[in-house]
Symmetry: C2
């Protein structure tokens, strides 16, 4: 503090002065001309300053570092360090990360890995404690974080808050374990993030009244405004699969702006490189009519205020010197990024290396016996079956009834039909559980695909038009300790290895991007996965039982409407 004061008062020299800049002032909504003096990684003064180390910023705009208020690093398949390296060039210097996926595999040990792994890169990740591990009582995942454990962990300094509370029914029905989680977070004065896609007015009262502060699941203005009225912050999302910002922009006005935030939720590598990160949210908001400074205010000050990060979110004295240098508002071209006063990205490239933290305890997480052909046979009495029907470009499915061939009491593949077999094999605790079901609309021919990223329990999910390839694909994932693969005629075409919890690569962005592209292209062109189906990602959501209509996990088919497991054999 002394140094900052001494630099502000010009008794000492700043470490760096950014000269002659146009500085975004999120408090007044104006551009201010002047110099920014930086000392010890913080902003010491704005005005007229000099130092030995100066950088001329004539014509450039300085904005505070952007903040992503809700995201899952695992969705990128990169570790935090690699992910940090990937997003810094887009101006994101702080991200509130919910390590929900790794927690479902490894529990608190996985979260600890993420926290430690993130330390090496100049992005401040703030890690939430996932609130719903497992996601439902119908899951067999790798770890449980219940109320008691939450109460034990939530007060930790390196735990930023309680992650998205997807178990909304548990909240509105005042479930005891849920209340323990919420009350322990509240009494530790930690933010609780929300996730409640559609709710009645009474449910919204109950949910917001329980202290849940944010929501990123709004897809229309009605829902978003209802939540703002009850005091919630709305995280306007631009992810890879879910892009809601344009639809939500009409909610932003002079009164509500302070309650609006940006988030990405889930970003895959290809999309990240194509569209950018929070800068993409800002650009879209500007396109939709906000002034550039309003959009930047949402990405900075609002996020800092919602999450009580008073040390950032503005270019102002005492705050951390996270600064994004923008060429012009018209192009919104990010030329440089400073993190704690150090230049960390320039011209779209990070100026530092990322290296995955070596930690054996987060590897070798696939614990299951080698799969055999017998494991995946589907016994049927009649040929009348419940089938998951995929809808193009969607993660919800339909439940339909179909007639299939039966031979010797087992399901028989039919080359002329569009019915594939899907299996989910438990892989955390060697229970031997394998759920088997049937899918229409996926279109796979002549092979199988499998992956160990399968929401939210991350068992191994596989689909194919023959048992041999399904078994081979699952065994390949088992062999490499997690990943995604495509198999045809018993031959593995290729595998993206995800050794960390079966979710993340220990290599960088290039490996993930290239391998994913290669596998995806093979699935589409050679295995004939249907148009409008994103081969691996759509598969990874078929085990997410908290969304409609018919899904599958390691216990079997799950019907959303009755919220219970059902047989493949149709009863009606």
């Amino acid at each position: 503090m002394k140094r900052l004061i001494d630099v502000a008062m010009k008794r000492e020299e700043a470490d760096l002065v950014l000269k002659n800049a146009r500085i975004v002032n999120v408090f007044t909504g104006e551009l201010e001309e002047g110099d920014v003096a930086i000392a010890d990684g913080r902003i010491a003064g704005i005005g007229s300053y000099s130092a030995k180390k100066e950088e001329d910023m004539s014509g450039k705009i300085l904005a505070p570092g952007f903040i992503d208020t809700h995201m899952h690093i695992e969705s990128s398949m990169m570790t935090p360090s690699h992910f940090g390296k990937a997003i810094v060039p887009y101006g994101t210097t702080t991200a509130v990360a919910d390590p929900h996926e790794i927690a479902n595999v490894l529990g608190v040990k996985g979260i600890d890995f993420m926290i430690k792994e993130a330390e090496s890169v100049p992005v401040d990740f703030r890690f939430m404690l996932p609130s719903c591990v497992p996601a439902t009582p119908f899951e067999h995942n790798g770890a449980v974080i219940d109320g008691a454990l939450t109460a034990e962990v939530i007060g930790r300094d390196d735990i930023f808050g309680l992650g998205e509370f997807m178990n909304a029914p548990g909240v509105v029905f005042a479930d005891g374990d849920v209340l323990t989680k919420l009350e322990s977070a509240t009494s530790a004065r930690k933010v609780v993030d929300g996730h409640y896609p559609s709710c009645s007015p009474d449910e919204l009262n109950a949910y917001s009244g329980a202290g849940i502060k944010t929501d990123h699941e709004c897809i229309d203005t009605l829902d978003a405004l209802a939540k703002i009225k009850r005091g919630m912050y709305i995280q306007m999302r631009e992810g890879t699969a879910t892009r809601n910002l344009r639809d939500l922009m009409p909610i932003v006005n002079k009164n509500t702006l302070r309650r609006c935030l940006f988030c990405t939720d889930d970003k895959q590598v290809e999309d990240l490189l194509a569209r950018g990160h929070i800068d993409n949210n800002i650009k879209i908001a500007i396109e939709c009519g906000l002034t550039p400074i309003e959009a930047i205010t949402i990405a900075t000050l609002n996020a800092a205020e919602c999450y009580d990060m008073t040390d950032r979110g503005a270019i102002a004295p005492g705050r951390i010197a996270d600064i994004v240098v923008i060429g012009s508002f018209e192009e919104f071209n990010i030329e440089k990024v400073f993190k704690r006063g150090k230049l960390v990205a320039e011209g779209g490239k990070a100026l530092f290396d990322a290296a995955t933290l070596e930690d054996g305890s987060v590897k070798d997480t696939v614990h299951m016996k080698e799969m055999t052909l017998d494991d995946v046979r589907l016994p049927l009495k009649s040929g009348r079956v419940n089938v998951m029907r995929l809808l193009p470009k969607n993660v919800v499915t339909e439940r339909v009834t179909r007639n299939v061939k039966v031979k010797d009491g087992y399901f028989e593949y039919d080359r002329d039909s569009d019915i594939s077999k899907i299996v989910v094999a438990e892989r955390h605790k060697n229970t031997g559980n394998i759920g088997i079901g049937l899918v229409e609309g996926y279109g796979i021919k002549g092979g199988a695909m499998a992956l160990s990223v399968a929401h939210d329990s991350h068992n191994i999910i596989a689909i194919g038009d023959n048992d041999a390839d399904i078994v081979a694909a699952v065994n390949e994932i088992r062999r490499v300790g997690g990943g995604m693969t495509a198999v045809s005629g018993g031959r593995v075409y290729g595998t993206l290895e995800l050794p960390i919890a079966g979710l993340m690569s220990d290599r960088g962005i290039d490996y993930i991007l290239e391998t994913t592209k290669r596998l995806t292209s093979y699935a589409t062109s050679e295995l004939k996965v249907a148009d409008g189906i994103e081969p691996f990602m759509s598969l990874s959501f078929l085990s997410l039982v908290v969304i409609p209509e018919l899904k599958i996990n390691d216990v079997g088919l799950f019907d959303y409407s009755s919220f219970s497991h059902i047989d493949v054999e149709a009863t009606e």
Copy 2:
């Protein structure tokens, strides 16, 4: 939390439902029609609710309870409980109080008394730890709160933050003890309030960069906007002596509104009853062009956000049910006030009693020998003297040089001149210190006045046109253990007794109001105190050495420009 959820979901009945109201929504800036369900003192739901206990609010407007963000209870001469009773009818349900005056007499013991005394009334006082006790190194007050003690106390749950940092020079010169105070507050994550009436751009960088979050001393838009630009919150003040709101209103726009707060700072009883409390700030803001909801937002949500009081500041689920019932925005007539869901005021009257907490340890704080005539003689060599010249309706003085009569080596009163004698007698530690000076423009004739409220050290200050009455007045204050008095011809006309720290009455508002009025009227009409001089209050500021130009404390005359003591004897 369970009860709130159950009531929101209509599985249980609310304690009270306010039906058919128009509800101020500070998040959207709109009036929302509906019912407010209250349970366990919190808001459980907004919408459509029923209960056995309902109150029809048709046509009425419900606003969140108002928050005063900076004030000194002692200025009212009431204890917290009586003060709370006085402000609740005006809709103030939370007040951030800086017990600076009692701390100067009794230190932390005095603060503890205030905290405890406040508990009995339905107003949430949030007590700051005063940052500048004593106010300057030139003071002899009753207690010292230095950096070490601050570090020890600031983390306490019942200490809300660090009070107004008047020692701005100490901040910008990075004084060691000052830094200890600031750093301990920052690391305890407590808000630090500011007080920096005029500063250069560099000084503002240093001051705001040190983590000082608010300022209530802005008297013009230029200063206020400069501070908002650096991230500070501006407390727009309407006190008894200082009223800055109208002057500051031009700073409020759609961008800056969220950085604006209301405060009263110092409110005397008569003014409180005449103008009201924070409702007065709101009314003035509306007069100046804000919408009623914008003005209410400043008084509620903004204050809650600045001070991280997430449990209030809005009528929203989960928040404390502090609700102000307003008849119409046009009249802004407050009909009822609910605190934690209980009706606590109606038709301008509090519905509860206040009783001063009995605590002997905050009484008998006047420790000095009986004063004699010899104590107040002013030895002079020449008749050329430095004189404090009062300016009507102002707390600053001028330093002037005058010729006075000298007899036998001592100052001699002159019936035809306007020069009075002023004395400040140390009363905390029996040091025997008595500062003696001369004042022009006060106009007192035929008597003397004295009081033990004398900023900031609260020694006994007295003024008169003859030594006998001055001595009698000081001894009367000594006799009653603190208060204010008027004396003429050796006879005490009347005394307002302030037994608590010599600052506050243990009786209620009526006693203070009537006695003050009687004494003031006597001072003006009988003792001929000059027009434009508020007899007692202007006296109490003549010992405040941190404002220009010539002041007096127990050591003697103090010159603001040289920031040092000077002799009465003029050297030039």
